[in-house]
Structures are given as C-alpha cells and as structure tokens.
C-alpha cells in the first residue's frame, strides 16, 4: 500500500467522521420492530471508500468507525460482537467485490454483507451468553439485514451514479 497523501488522509478522515456521525445518530433512535435491527447507514461511507479508494482504505474507515463508535457510544463491551461482525461481513464484501468485479452489483453485495453482519452478530451473542435459544431471532434479523443492506446498497449506487465524474476526480 502506497503512503497516503495528505489529501487522501483528509478525505478518509471526513468519510470516517460522516460514518461515525451516521452511527451515533442512528443509535439515538429508539429500537424499532426487531431488537438490534438498524439501517446501518454508517456502512454507506465504508462502502463508498472501498469503491472510490480500495480495500485497505475501506477497512481503515470501517475499523476506526467501529472503535470510535464504541467509545463515543459509551458501549465498549459492544466491540466483542460489533468488531467481528463488521470485519467479517466487510471481508466477504471486499473479496466478492474484487473477485467478481463487474459481474455482480454493488446493491446485491451490500445485501449479502448486511445479512452476514447480522448473522455473525447474533452468533456472537449466543456465544457470550452460552445459549442457542437466541437463534429464534435469526429469521427476523436476516430479513432486517436484507432490507438494511438494500437501503445502503441503493444509496451507495445512487451516490456513485449521480455524483458527476468530475467531482469524483477531485478525490485523487
């Protein structure tokens, strides 16, 4: 990986901040429908980073956002399940993005990634409290993950398509 230019560091900092803001704003909302279900709008920025810059930069934005989200959200203990879920789902996303480039849509990859995220998080919860009974929430969480992934995927595709190429060029 090449050394980051000051401009790139600044842009990655802005993307991480936006991601963190989205995460913190979402955590202020009361829980709806299914416990633990969220739209995951913070993932929009790590997804855009991956497409605009590459896999290492995407991981960087995601990891810093998860760590700072736990600190600012006042829930350090959440790292035990949010970090593995975030990293594993993003790894699958990044691998498929690189491997199947141009063959699968960003939209579908976001759906798969969100579903994996919720599945891993639920499994981590089961491990922490040593019971499988929580798996009764799996169907609802997988469905919510698919919907959340579709929202993030649609937003990411729309942003990339409708922001003019000249504006994207300014990132480099």
């Amino acid at each position: 990986m090449k050394a980051f230019s000051p401009k790139k560091i600044a842009v990655l900092g802005v993307l991480t901040t936006l991601s963190l803001l989205a995460f913190l704003l979402e955590s202020l909302l009361p829980p709806i429908f299914v416990p633990g279900a969220k739209a995951g709008l913070s993932n929009l920025f790590s997804t855009l980073t991956l497409v605009a810059y590459g896999v290492p930069e995407g991981f960087l934005v995601l990891t810093v956002r998860i760590l700072l989200g736990a600190v600012f959200g006042g829930n350090i203990g959440a790292l035990i399940y949010s970090l593995p879920a975030g990293l594993l789902s993003f790894t699958v996303f990044a691998l498929l993005w690189v491997w199947k480039k141009g063959k699968v849509s960003l939209f579908s990859l976001c759906i798969l990634s969100a579903v994996i995220h919720n599945a891993v998080q639920l499994f981590a919860h089961c491990l922490i409290v040593s019971t499988l009974s929580l798996l009764s929430y799996a169907p609802a969480l997988i469905l919510c993950g698919a919907v959340a992934g579709a929202i993030v995927g649609a937003l990411a595709e729309t942003a990339i398509r409708y922001i003019p190429s000249a504006q994207w060029d300014k990132l480099y």
Binding site: P31, P35, G74, V115, T131, I160
Partner: protein, 161 residues
C-alpha cells in the same frame, strides 16, 4: 484502480444475472434460519415457567404457578410483585461497576413475558418477548437472559460451552 471502479458502477446496469446467486444465498440463509427456528424452539406449552440467568448462571426462576425461586448470586437482586394472573419482576444488576435495572412483566396465565423497561444501552431488550414464536429475552449490556424453564424430562437441543 478505484477511479475505474467508480466508472464501472456508473456504466453497469443496476441488475446483473450473476446477482441471482447472491440472492439465492440470502434466501437459503433465511430458509435455514426458519428451519432452525422450527427445530430448536422449545415448546412453550411444555415449559413450566421462566428462568433468569445472569452472567451465564441461573439467578432465579418463576413458575407459571407464581412460585418464585431466587438462587444465591452476587451482583443481582430481585423485587417481585405477583398476583394470581401476573407478576412484575424488578431486577437490579451490577455489571463492571455500574448498576442497571430491568423490569419484566409476566402474564402467568397466557405464559408470555415482556421486558417492560430497562436502562441499558440501546434498550433493544425492551422489544423482546417470550411467547408468540420467540422464546428468550436477552439484555447483553446487563448480561441477562430470560428463557423458558423446561420440565425435568426436557433435553436441550444444544448449549454452547
């Protein structure tokens, strides 16, 4: 490489045939989860009450008859108000030096349980119920699990050690 990726997304159709296998994987996961739900769920009608565990250890049980049993456990205490048909269990826990509160509403005749209130982060547990398909309530920040109490002859489908 990434500037090309932007152009790739801009120039490609929103749906590609290869997306179908991704949707198929998601659908399979969903079907497996429904099958797992059907196979793993303990039968609520066989349950004799509820069990409250704290940090993985049984802390209390409440039978549908209204009998409440508290097990010796540090850092958790209970206050119970019950009538013939319902019970309210107020739980106080101490996790990592912080005191937390949860309130369970139990309908003893309908065999349903709801987390009425909690002061944990996120308050996701307040959306959880026992009954109508779901069989456990989890409050992860407070390390609490409320699950169905099975009879003597019940064999668990699985426990993660």
């Amino acid at each position: 490489m990434s500037r090309r990726d932007i152009d790739l997304v801009k120039g490609s159709p929103r749906f590609r045939l290869s997306d179908l296998w991704i949707y198929a994987v998601v659908l399979c996961l969903l079907l497996v989860s429904f099958a797992g739900l059907w196979l793993l769920s303990p039968n609520a009608t066989q349950a004799t009450g509820i069990e409250i565990t704290f940090c993985g250890k049984r802390a209390a049980t409440l039978e549908w008859t209204g009998r409440f049993t508290e097990y010796p456990s540090e850092r958790i205490s209970f206050a119970v108000e019950s009538t013939a048909e319902s019970a309210v269990i107020r739980i106080t826990v101490e996790v990592d030096g912080t005191v937390g509160h949860n309130e369970l509403q139990v309908d003893l005749s309908a065999h349903t349980v709801a987390m009425e209130s909690a002061d944990c982060t996120g308050r996701d547990c307040t959306l959880m119920k026992i009954g109508n398909g779901s069989d456990s309530i989890l409050c992860l920040p407070h390390r609490l699990v409320v699950s169905l109490l099975q009879g003597e002859n019940w064999i668990p489908d699985g426990v993660i050690l």
